[in-house]
């Protein structure tokens, strides 16, 4: 199976003073075009390293990363990134912040076109009227919305989200989850989301991948059905609770706090409509 994002047998170790520190071990992930893959796992298991590999900011020791049928060896303009820290440029207005990627990625757009594109995205995430404000004048949630617009302004194929909602309060976070669904409906992209929030993972993703402890490899995959929790009410159904229970158990296994299942790593959540992917 080939996807828009293909991670094939990726192994990576950091070189430290006390010798190599293995981070990723024979990792295999494939995300189809338009897919949304959430990656969860114990903290420090190499999830952020994974995003840097996909973005071409790092190269694996072994294995390959492929985007859109091309092997990734260096950064490419078809990727958009958003982090937990929105890293907006304080000296620019929100509009100019969102335009930033268009100043770097080669394109033939005029200034007016760039501004129109940025305004369109800002309106989509509910930031209409804040274009000329500075980041310091916005709340944390609004800054993160602007950061998402910046990640999408150059119409990337791949959107890499590294815990973008991690620092927000619960209500703002749920707001932004819904914004993500809106964005996905309006702006087609393939996404990898790193998160610590299991509810977030089943709310947003088509597939949830649980990574094992370091060195990380895929421990468990869960397909989230189309009928999965796509609005907030659905997060409190028995089906959703069941999925969350399974994921929580898998995290405990990854942390070494619970014995591994005798069952195979890929399973269908019992009693739910979820289908195994492989």
């Amino acid at each position: 199976m080939t996807g828009l994002i293909d991670i094939k047998g990726v192994t990576l170790a950091y070189r430290t003073d006390t010798g190599p520190l293995p981070v990723l071990d024979d990792l295999n992930i494939s995300v189809p075009e338009g897919g949304f893959c959430a990656v969860v796992g114990p903290s420090g298991c190499g999830k952020s390293t994974l995003t840097r590999l996909i973005a071409g900011l790092m190269r694996p020791d072994e294995g390959e990363v492929w985007l859109h049928g091309a092997r990734v060896t260096s950064p490419r303009a078809t990727v958009g990134m958003a982090f937990q820290n929105p890293v907006l440029l304080e000296w620019r207005t929100i509009l100019q912040n969102v335009i930033l990627p268009l100043e770097i990625v080669p394109n033939k757009q005029t200034k007016a076109q760039r501004e129109a594109r940025a305004r369109e995205l800002l309106a989509l995430v509910g930031l209409e009227g804040f274009e000329d404000k500075r980041p310091s004048e916005l709340s944390g949630g609004m800054r993160q919305r602007a950061s998402l617009c910046r990640a999408l302004v150059h119409k990337p194929d791949v959107l890499i989200l590294d815990e973008p909602f991690g620092a927000l309060d619960a209500f703002t976070r749920e707001d932004l989850w819904q914004t993500m669904h809106q964005l996905r409906a309006e702006e087609p992209f393939t996404s990898v989301l790193i998160t610590h929030d299991l509810r977030e993972s089943i709310f947003l993703a088509d597939e949830v991948i649980v990574l094992s402890g370091r060195p990380a490899t895929v421990q468990y995959r869960m397909a989230v059905p189309d009928t999965g929790p796509r609005d907030l009410d659905h997060l409190y159904t028995p089906e959703a609770a069941e999925m969350l229970n399974i994921l929580r158990h898998q995290i405990e296994v990854a942390q070494g706090r619970a014995p591994a299942d005798p069952e195979p790593a890929t399973a269908t959540p019992p009693g739910s409509a979820a289908q195994a992917m492989h």
């Binding site: 840097r52 973005a55 071409g56 900011l57 260096s74 950064p75 490419r76 303009a77 990727v79 990134m81 982090f83 820290n85 890293v87 440029l89 304080e90 000296w91 207005t93 509009l95 100019q96 930033l100 990627p101 100043e103 770097i104 990625v105 000329d132 500075r134 310091s136 910046r150 150059h154 890499i160």
Partner: protein
């Protein structure tokens, strides 16, 4: 850019300063408060001298100064200008050199490790001891020597602040641009440089006063009849004590003027870093 109002600089307002606005500015808190503080300081000084009945060779009173200024007005203008331009030249060189050294140290860990002890050691040498060395090294080059000492004493804070500003740039800022394929030069111009500006201006404010110290060190320790330092020295030789104090006040005045020039530049180039008063 016409539809992007910048809250930082308002050139039109400065250009079109009406009489009404001038009046408002002169009587605003930001002008009245410092003027009042200076007046209180002068009054206390006068009181101290009068109460103790000190003659002017112990300590001149503010009331002794006007006659010194009237008598030597032309000397004050000529020598004040000599001090000012040589300080500014030394400072300008310190800015160029300090920023370059700061960039080298900020971007390269090896260079940082290599240069820090050298810089600190150089800075730890009292510049008063360097003055005779420089005076011997470049005999007769008075202007050059004076600007050189001003430069040597003032570049250190600039180099350190620029290097810290660049080396503490959050990796996410770099990643956002690098993942789009931006070059190192682009990252420097778009992010590293503007982000370092507030630190740079903070250091420049320190450097301004230091540069004056450097200029006057040269003018006093190695007298060559130029600058306010030389005027101070002649006051000392001729037992003209009010003149000595008048020189001190003139130096303070020049320092204040140059300091506020830096403040104005800071407002223009790094005004975004200033938080609105709440």
């Amino acid at each position: 850019m016409t539809d992007v109002p910048s809250p930082v600089t308002r050139p039109r307002q400065i250009a079109g300063l009406s009489a009404d606005r001038l009046k408002k500015t002169l009587f605003s808190r930001s002008v009245l408060a410092p003027v009042a503080a200076v007046l209180v300081f002068l009054a206390l000084w006068e009181l101290l001298v009068q109460a103790n009945g000190w003659p002017d060779y112990v300590m001149a009173a503010p009331s002794d100064l006007p006659q010194a200024y009237i008598r030597y007005w032309e000397l004050f203008l000529v020598m004040g200008w000599q001090t000012l331009w040589r300080t500014v030249v030394g400072l300008a060189v310190a800015v160029v050199f300090g920023v370059l050294v700061g960039m080298v140290m900020g971007f390269s860990r090896v260079m940082r490790d290599a240069l820090y002890p050298l810089l600190v050691g150089f800075n730890a040498i009292p510049k008063a001891t360097v003055v005779p060395i420089v005076a011997l090294l470049f005999v007769g080059q008075h202007d050059f020597n004076t600007a050189l000492i001003a430069f040597m004493i003032s570049f250190f804070p600039i180099a350190v602040s620029v290097s810290i500003g660049l080396s503490t740039l959050e990796p996410e800022y770099r990643d956002i641009l690098r993942s789009l394929g931006a070059s190192q030069a682009m990252i420097f111009w778009k992010i590293a440089l503007p982000k370092t500006l507030p630190e740079f201006f903070g250091a420049l404010k320190v450097a301004v006063t230091l540069a004056f110290i450097g200029t006057n060190l040269m003018e006093i320790v190695s007298p060559h009849g130029r600058g306010l330092g030389a005027l101070f020295d002649s006051g000392k030789t001729n037992s003209d004590y009010p003149l000595m104090f008048a020189v001190l006040i003139a130096l303070a005045f020049l320092g204040i003027v140059l300091f506020y020039v830096v403040v104005a530049l800071e407002k223009i180039f790094a005004g975004w870093a200033e938080r609105p008063a709440t």
